[in-house]
Amino acid sequence: MAGPIVYRTRRNVLHMAALAAATSVIAPSLSKADSKAVEAEIKKLYDGKAMSEGRIKLDVPQIAENGLVVPITVDVESPMTEQNYVKAVHVYADGNPLPGVLTFRFSPLSGRASASTRMRLAQTQNIVAVAEMSDGSLFTTKAEVKVTIGGCGG
């Protein structure tokens, strides 16, 4: 067998894990698990400020292998300089009893606005990410994760 192929280095993963652990500040709390209502509530949290699509790469599986530990990676396009960087990424799961799942906080010293962790999802739902930029602008994206009991294969 050939050596393992790794696209993300161990050091990187450790770094991300440490970062995720360090950000214990949870996204502002919401409590309604309804897709439309959650979307409206998220808008309110940011004073109804305009949110642009794009810049965030939200990597979640289309189908969760295990709803208890669903991997999530966010990666925001940014030069990460003192003048222009990503301050934070907030993640919401619109089907969770408490949709605010986590917040990753960054500084120019982060070098890259990228982080990974795992979250628990009980059912099929949308994951919404909101990135706060240093100039106060907001970016958002969403992706659906299907949580299934399966079905037996060929």
Partner: protein, 565 residues
């Protein structure tokens, strides 16, 4: 090279799929006749390289009958297109004459009659003979033999030797690379052990350890054949931990990992590959979509959905091959490579008609040796069937009806659930039901036949969930397999409706009354993916039911009403 004349454009498809058809000389020679070994092997060689592909053998060492589906619905972009064609529509599309040997091999209608005319198919000694013949004709150094997986599971000998018998057989066959799905149901340690013992490279770019996200298996391997460099990327079944017990492979993660396939293709090209092959266990529709999204794959050898097509499908520059299952077929694909590109190809699906092919003596000897310790057990005649017992079909199969009836009776349940597996041999009316035959439909490593209470609402949820895994219009959400079979209950299904709204009119057949959402019913089932499931193994349940009745007769099943197809 396939000429323009040989191209039949499927439609102006969303996927831009086109179909190249024709059985070549075989189709014309064969009308109403048995084929000879020469007819089966006849092929005008092309280019420098021959790819041979076998897949989804499901541990079937011996010749068997295997009825293809009469209902195989495609949804979304796949609707009405190959491989989602059956019977007359299939024969019309691929120019197969009714009543011919090929019609018997590839379609379901008139199955019993044609089976009596043309005999069994498959048998690994026959497969070995054909492969040796192609190697001899072409030159062994020009032939690459690949296995798409679902090889180590599906028979009593495979279960008892925990896959070892199939590794011996495939080693003897000279398989050079394989990928995997049901293999994983032997658990992490055993899979690693057998992957070591296997002479075939065990390739799976999409299996990662879930702590470090490192590749568990070699993602790809390059072979030199006929002076060309052929890169083979392995793709295991992406949904293994959902469709099969995750607890058996707790440290491994799967998934489609499309971007990583692209990286593998790009790396292979950068290393000078002339040809890039994806040896896939994704399932046909998933691969048809993937071919339009990943650049630079020359050939996708598809598997999992058990489709057998006597012609390739193309999507852009990518050729998709579907080689059937159970050792019924071998795909031969000759490639003409010029300037590091596939400039032409020729394809034939070789049907393995057991009666026409001389068994390879050394493989026959190995099979005898493997089966000998179990011979008495396997040969045990439990009963006989008066009906055709088959499995394939989107909603039911008579063999599954038998399993469901056995569970209802032996486990004293109101409702029975039996999985929509696509593997398992067919029995003809009048055939003995041996223990071998029962095991061929049930031999898995998580066989417990449970008995539990489930409400009407829970049952509907299960059916909705499984239906979404089959009829989701986006192939990337399809898991392969067929609808879970339900004993004791009838229902209506609108396959074109969205998730949660496909299933209606759930009726308890015994009383003719609607299933009540909040009422609890006694349900028996098997193949639960949950750890610690209790109950007797399903083969014992079926065995005692058949032994009690001796003669099995299955009436046509009209309990599922299908719309939206």
């Amino acid at each position: 090279m396939i000429s323009r004349r040989h191209f039949l454009h499927a439609t102006a498809a969303a996927h831009a799929l086109a179909v190249a058809s024709g059985l070549g000389p075989l189709g014309r020679a064969a009308a109403q006749q048995r084929l000879s070994e020469q007819d089966i092997l006849r092929f005008e060689p092309l280019g420098q390289v021959t790819i041979l592909h076998v897949t989804d053998i499901h541990a079937q060492l011996m010749p068997l009958y295997f009825r293809e589906p009469s209902i195989n619905l495609g949804v979304g972009p796949a609707k009405g297109k190959p491989p989602h064609l059956t019977d007359q529509a299939f024969r019309d599309h691929f120019k197969v004459g009714g009543g011919t040997a090929e019609a018997h091999a590839l379609t379901a209608d008139d199955f019993t009659q044609l089976a009596r005319t043309y005999g069994r198919m498959g048998g690994m000694d026959r497969v070995a003979r054909l492969i040796s013949a192609v190697r001899a004709e072409r030159g062994a150094d020009k032939v690459l033999l690949l296995d798409g997986g679902d090889t180590w599971q599906g028979s009593w000998t495979a279960l008892q030797t925990r896959g070892d018998d199939m590794v011996q057989v495939m080693n003897a066959l000279g398989v050079e690379a394989m990928t995997s799905h049901w293999e994983f149901t032997y658990g992490e340690d055993r899979v690693k052990e057998l992957a070591e013992k296997s002479k075939a490279a065990f390739l799976a770019q999409n299996v990662r350890d879930n702590e470090w996200q490192e590749a568990v298996f070699e993602p790809r391997k390059t072979f030199e054949k006929g002076g060309a460099k052929i890169a083979v990327i392995g793709q295991a079944f992406p949904r293994t931990p959902i469709a099969n017990p995750r607890w058996m492979i707790p440290k491994w993660e799967f998934g489609l990992r499309e971007e990583d396939i692209q990286k593998q293709v790009d790396e292979a090209r950068a290393e000078g590959a002339d040809v890039v092959i994806l040896l896939s266990h994704n399932g046909f529709d998933v691969d048809a979509k993937l071919a339009t999204r990943v650049n630079g794959i020359d050939v996708i050898l598809t598997a999992h959905t058990h489709d057998a097509m006597p012609g390739v499908v193309t999507a852009g520059r990518t050729i998709l091959v579907a080689s059937g299952s159970h050792g019924k077929f071998i795909s031969r694909l000759d490639l003409d490579i010029r300037d590091k590109k596939v400039s032409g190809y020729r394809y034939k699906l070789l049907p393995v008609f057991s009666d026409a092919i001389t068994p390879d003596p050394s493989m026959a000897g190995l099979i005898d040796a493997i089966r000998k310790p179990f011979a008495a057990e396997l040969a045990q005649e439990i009963g006989r069937t008066e009906s055709l017992l088959f499995r394939r079909g989107n909603f039911n199969g008579t063999f599954d009806d038998l399993i469901a009836q056995a569970m209802l009776a032996e486990r004293d349940a109101e409702i029975a659930l039996t999985p929509g597996f696509r593997w398992g041999a067919t029995l003809l009316p009048g055939d003995p039901i041996t223990f071998d035959a029962i095991a061929n439909a049930t031999a898995i490593t998580y066989p417990a036949c449970y008995r539990m209470e489930m409400t009407g609402a829970q049952l509907k949820d299960v059916l909705e969930d499984v239906a979404d895994n089959i009829f989701h219009p986006d192939p990337y959400f399809q898991g392969g397999g067929d609808m879970v079979r339900v004993g004791g209950v009838g229902y209506a299904i609108d396959v074109s409706a969205p998730m949660g709204r496909r299933i209606s009119d759930l009726t308890l057949l015994k009383t003719g009354r609607p299933l009540e959402a909040s009422k609890a019913y006694t349900v028996a089932g098997w193949a639960s993916v949950n750890q610690g499931t209790q109950g007797p193994p399903i083969w014992d349940v079926v065995k005692s039911h058949v032994a009690r009745h001796k003669t099995i007769r299955i009436e046509p099943n009209a309990a599922v009403k299908v719309t939206g197809a």
